[in-house]
């Protein structure tokens, strides 16, 4: 037996209270770990984005479209290897409006050139290229709705009203994490010929591929410089920069997540501090006895700090032990499959585990500082009088 084992045994004094406190710390740490993983996952999304692809959009906003003729202008720019274009469709499945997925009109031949990580059987690819009513769906989306090749799917347009019927010609998967597997693609020609004349010959954004990532910035400048004198100016950036700028758009949300993490930890600290303070109050007489037999104020403070750090560490370890399988195996897998674009890799980072455990220890110590100080400054005779 030593002083540390006395502190350890003290945690067993009121097992129910200790268990509840450990559980409280564990839940706080689990929430902290989840929020930290969300933050890390956002950044990982940027990491995985293609560095050799550019996105060109209306200079003012994503919502405004570009003239289709800009595609050929971009194709002609030095350093551009291949070009394709998209229109955001915003389709929903009737009766399943709450289940969001991305639906876009594309130019299939150029799409396959620019997005060479798209993988599907050649016969399915050829069928999709030739069928004007054809649709290409991601493997995750197909699994989610039970779709297979040959199925007829009707989407309801939110931007382009009406019911749009498609035949699924192919189910794609992605060779790299730079592309999600939960999108719905169909022919741009179909959209272009169906919408009213003012909306025809318009594209949402242009995606172009450059030979290497090092040229991306230069080519982006060339593109924007070309359209600068025109009525509609563009804003070009690498896919990575686009994702980063998107992060900038949600920076308030990320800041909010950081604040919530802090608040959770603060609450955890207060709960722990209260439990420890209760213990100190209940043991005043006992501390008097320990002081009488020769223990110094610092010994009592160490007992209190030791007990708090043991509880904090147990809670942190439990939170991590529950958090890793829950996030990696449950929430993470779901998000990776259904929101690949945002969360291509939603797993608990090792450094976050270390931070969580270190915080458990540090915050538990901080929570115990006041009770430890109070225990240390007890007068022996006053403490002995408390009960006797």
């Amino acid at each position: 037996m030593n002083l540390a084992t006395v502190a350890l045994k003290n945690t067993r004094r009121n097992l129910f209270r200790t268990a509840l406190t450990v559980l409280g710390v564990a839940v706080a740490m689990l929430a902290f770990l989840l929020l930290r993983t969300v933050l890390s996952a956002w950044l990982v999304g940027v990491e995985y984005s293609a560095k050799d692809r550019l996105a060109t959009r209306h200079k003012v906003t994503f919502i405004m479209t570009l003239p289709k003729r800009y595609v050929e202008d971009v194709r002609a720019i030095k350093g551009v290897e291949s070009v394709t274009w998209f229109n955001w469709f915003g389709g929903r499945l009737p009766g399943k409006e709450d289940q969001f997925f991305g639906s876009m009109a594309i130019d299939p031949p150029s799409f396959f050139q620019v997005y060479d990580e798209v993988s599907l059987p050649e016969e399915h690819k050829q069928a999709f290229l030739q069928n004007r009513r054809g649709a290409l769906v991601g493997a995750v989306l197909a699994r989610q709705f039970g779709w297979k090749v040959g199925d007829r799917v009707t989407l309801e347009g939110t931007i382009f009203p009406g019911k749009w019927e498609f035949i699924i010609d192919g189910v794609y998967s992605a060779k790299r994490r730079s592309m999600d597997e939960s999108s719905f693609y169909f022919h741009w020609d179909l959209l272009n010929q169906t919408v009213p004349v003012p909306q025809q010959e318009q594209v949402g954004w242009i995606a172009s591929k450059v030979p290497n990532a090092g040229q991306a910035a230069t080519v982006a400048k060339r593109i924007d410089a070309l359209f600068e004198p025109r009525d509609i100016q563009t804003l070009s950036m690498s896919e990575r920069a686009m994702n980063t700028s998107f992060l900038g758009m949600v920076s308030t949300l990320l800041d909010a997540i950081q604040i919530v993490s802090g608040v959770i930890l603060l609450i955890m600290m207060l709960i722990l501090g209260n439990t420890i303070a209760m213990g100190v109050r209940e043991r005043t007489h006992e501390y008097g006895v320990l002081r009488a037999i020769g223990f110094l104020p610092r010994h009592l403070s160490l007992f209190v700090l030791g007990e708090a750090t043991i509880i904090g560490l147990l809670g942190g370890a439990l939170g991590v032990a529950i958090g890793i399988p829950l996030i990696n195996g449950g929430v993470g897998r779901y998000l990776e499959e259904n929101m690949t674009g945002f969360f291509p890799y939603f797993r608990v980072a090792q450094q976050d585990v270390v931070i969580a455990l270190a915080l458990s220890l540090v915050l538990a110590s901080l929570a115990a500082l006041v009770p430890a100080y109070q225990a240390g400054k007890l007068q022996v005779t006053d403490a002995l009088r408390k009960l006797g």
Partner: protein
């Protein structure tokens, strides 16, 4: 720290000791110019009505408190001149405590409770355990070493407390109502044990008690009233 040679008769020596507590701004004189000497190896009982100052006197002798005036010398050492930390160290080496309510740590076994004061020494773990075992044998509870306090009777708990008090081999044992919570049979066993510690191990025992039967076991009975010896 001041140490002076003593003859055997003033092992414990209190000169002109006064103790004043304050209730708000109002002073309450608990001990008044008290003179007292006790020889080494004495077994003395302090009796008196509640509020007479006997527990305060015990606390001064045990080094738990310091006098407002006068001096308390134990074995020639002036306790009033020691710092808080020096007094704590002195207590750990020279005083064993027995309380009315035993005051064992409920999460520790009997052996661990007895070993507790030895954690303040540099003794190796095996030596500490051995000393705790010997102390438990002295009080007749070696076979209860692994029992927690809630698995022991009141009398047994008090015997564990006595083992804890003697495990550091202190010169003085202070006992504050050691039989106050016990039935007559258990109380007699505890008193018998104290007598043995006094006679066989030559421990100086100062005991506060309300119990005349307990006081009878002491060699000297002192009575206090209103902060003065009578």
């Amino acid at each position: 720290m001041t140490t002076e040679a003593t003859n055997g008769s003033d092992f414990i020596r209190l000169d002109d000791v006064g103790k004043v507590y304050y209730r708000g701004k109002e002073p309450i004189e608990v001990l008044k110019q008290l003179h007292l000497t006790m020889p080494e190896g004495a077994f003395e009982a302090l009796m008196g009505p509640s509020g007479s100052g006997k527990s305060t006197l015990l606390n001064l002798i045990a080094g738990l408190d310091s006098p407002s005036s006068g001096s308390v010398r134990i074995s020639g050492q002036e306790l009033g001149r020691m710092t808080e930390a020096q007094r704590a160290h002195w207590r750990s080496q020279n005083v064993g405590f027995i309380f009315q309510t035993y005051n064992l740590l409920p999460v520790l076994t009997a052996a661990e409770n007895v070993e507790l004061p030895l954690l303040l020494t540099r003794l190796p773990s095996s030596e500490r355990k051995e000393r705790a075992r010997v102390a438990l044998r002295v009080v007749g509870l070696e076979d209860r070493a692994d029992h927690r306090p809630d698995q022991l009777s009141g009398g047994q708990q008090q015997r564990v407390a006595i083992a804890r008090a003697i495990v550091t081999d202190p010169k003085i044992i202070v006992a504050d109502e050691p039989t106050g919570d016990l039935d007559r049979t258990s109380a007699d066993q505890i008193l018998e044990l104290l007598v043995r510690l006094n006679r066989e191990l030559k421990k100086t025992i100062v005991m506060v008690t309300h119990d005349p039967a307990a006081a009878e076991r002491a060699t000297i009975v002192r009575r206090l009233d209103k902060g003065a010896l009578i």
